[in-house]
Amino acid sequence: MAADFQTPEFREYPAVPNKLVPDATAHLSPFVAKPDHNEKLGFPGELVDNWHDKAIEKMGDLLGKYRGLQVFLDACVKCGSCTDKCHYFQGTSDPKNMPVARQDLLRSVYRRHFTFAGKYFPKLVGARELDREVLDEWYSYFHQCSQCRRCSVFCPYGIDTAEISMAAREILDTVGYGQKYCNEILGKVQTVGNNLGLPGPALKATMAEFEEEMEDDTGLPIKLPIDVQGADVLLITPSADFFAEPHIDGLMGYAKVFHEAGINWTLSSYAAEAANFSMFIGSYSNMKTVAERIRTAALDLGVKRIMVGECGHAWRVAYSFWNTVAGVGSGAAEDDEYGQKLQKQLDHRYPIPQHICEFTHGLLQEGKLRLDPAANDHRTVTFHDSCNVARASRMGDKPGGQFDIPRALLKAACNNYVDMDPDTIREVTYCCGGGGGLLTDDLMEIRVKGALPRMEALKDVMQNQGVTNMAAICAICKAQFAKVMPYFDIPMDTILSTHQIVGDALVLTGSTQETALDGGDDSSEKTEEAAEATE
């Protein structure tokens, strides 16, 4: 592997915190956005001349709009609880990657301009003027945070570094110092409808290919419908599901589940993207604009339900924010015209939006799917909880459903399932290292180093419990792992989509698999067997 940096070594005792190596990753900065990228999103094209004043003004504006930011900047007592929790700190030993130190990059300027102590006793409270060096430091280190919220779990005041880094990036965008990767992609999704910039006809051609592949595989005409007027379900999925491995296999898994359930569903070429990178750059207005494409598609197609494919931050945006920014949800007030307009069209007997895992899990519980876990006997599977799903959303009715539902699917679909070290999963799961707008080649070093804790935990179960594959429910996690695993001598195809594993085990009515299993068509037994399989 050609790289101008060292892949971090697995640690003997991952629980022991690192020795600090100041400025170890001070040289890392993502490519700066071009004027064109920034302007499309309503930001100045290049760093403006009066950036100092504009930045401080924006900070004041955000402090008045976001209570979280105001409280988080005031409340930190520097207790140190978060200091060893960040995967980037663990992988780099750079003290500025400790969550509190990362926050302090912004907090120091907040104190200088917005607090009594910082104005009159700056040295005493570590307040700093915002100069060019500080601005560049923001650009560097706030793009070494994947906004995974792991630190917020351990903070006695719930201070969330993700919120701080979102605010910092919004300030940077406001002065014309945006990041190329996020802003370029946001331009594409707002003009073409997906992050890839894949136009409708190309999308339809790709889906036709996948349909053929599935037909060859199962002998059944499984569809990937697009822009079907009057469909019951609109599926919004990350565009990576249309072109990347192992994402595509997940998409085919969803299609198989829909087919077996006999649901009339559709994709939308206008809103062919679940991802919403506006969250990464902390831009409420852009988040609203991007999410409103889904609202528009739902209104135009007249769908009753809206589902979301496997994607971490997208599920956070969908679950936590869609209702707020686009009215995609339930419970809008009577006099809320904007909210009511879409909500009166939707079927509120189902959760809106609904995660594809919730949907598949519901079908399993109702005995509507027949799974043959033996189809996955060549695999021993573990599950990577994606950060945004784990700590910023939910599935099902109960808190923690986001951990249990995907695991229930995997356990129903394969006989060999193993969890990784409890200190690395569920609520305290580690980020893949590529989230939060960092999934770009110009940040490869921080991506590899940030993957260390997850790679250690995975390697451990691979060596000691025979794990062959890790399933995920996030497009970024999948892309990131496929890329960084080789640095740690783990085969890149170790990472799989959860719905690929489900799809592989799914015995479709009338498929060649069913014939092989049953030796003939005997659909009357289907329901009974399905019930057995889920027990």
Partner: protein, 241 residues
């Protein structure tokens, strides 16, 4: 003379403490939280949120998950401080309620727990590299101030006693705006001056973590974004465009 100075000091400190804190709390309360950002898994009901907040405030649940040493020292200090404060209520009340009488002996030992907790936290600022890195001079001074308050208090209790009856008269006098003489033992004067300083810096320092935790959206929000449309006033304006 000392009495007059201390009376003025405490009127000022109290006004600044109450006014400053009220201003901050008002600011926190009126600033909207436009997005649902509870750290999940989070409670799905309001009563669940009350329980989560209670665990956070009483037991420091998140800190316990994060670091057992910080939790141990931090919790010792805060519980100690709470008991010591309750014990001090006897200077403000006449007659003294039974509960306050009952906790007097506990409050006495709590003073030591408080001091040990503080010294533990302070030690970490010197000896743990990560925490040394994130500590500003003000973080050390804050601990020095609290240790000095606790130390001077303990020394009065277990060493050079002061005339607590006179102290109580002075305090009750402050509350009824009739100035009474204040004993002039150095320990007492130091103790009281430092307490006044603490009250003054409270609303302009990291001590704002005390009201702040109740307003933290990652801890005080109900996890129900799909069931209810949550829109802040400034964000609702955007719906209209």
């Amino acid at each position: 003379m000392a009495g007059l100075f201390y009376a003025a000091l405490f009127y000022f400190a109290t006004a600044f403490f109450v006014g400053g804190l009220a201003y901050k709390i008002y600011k926190y309360a009126k600033t909207p939280a436009p997005l649902k950002i509870p750290t999940t898994p989070a409670p799905t009901t309001q009563s669940g949120v009350v329980a989560r907040m209670a665990r956070e405030v009483v037991f420091f649940e998140s800190l316990f998950k994060g670091n057992k040493w910080i939790w141990l020292f931090g919790w010792m200090f805060h519980v100690g401080l709470a008991l010591v404060l309750l014990r001090h209520l006897r200077y403000f009340m006449d007659p003294i309620p039974g509960v306050i009488v009952f906790i007097q002996p506990f409050g006495m030992y709590a003073g030591f727990a408080m001091a040990i907790g503080l010294l533990g936290l302070w030690g970490r600022r010197f000896f743990v590299e990560r925490i040394r890195y994130i500590s500003n001079p003000s973080d050390h001074l804050m601990l020095a101030l609290l240790v000095a308050i606790g130390g001077s208090g303990l020394m009065m209790k277990f060493g050079a006693h002061t005339d607590i009856v006179a102290v109580k008269n002075f305090v009750l006098g402050l509350m009824t705006f009739s100035l009474q003489p204040l004993p002039t033992d150095p320990l007492l004067l130091i103790h009281l001056a430092l307490v006044a300083v603490l009250m003054i810096i409270f609303p302009i320092s990291k001590l704002l973590h005390a009201p702040g935790v109740f307003f933290s959206p990652t801890r005080n929000q109900v996890d129900n974004p799909r069931e209810r449309r949550h829109v802040a006033p400034w964000a609702a304006e955007l719906d209209k465009s």
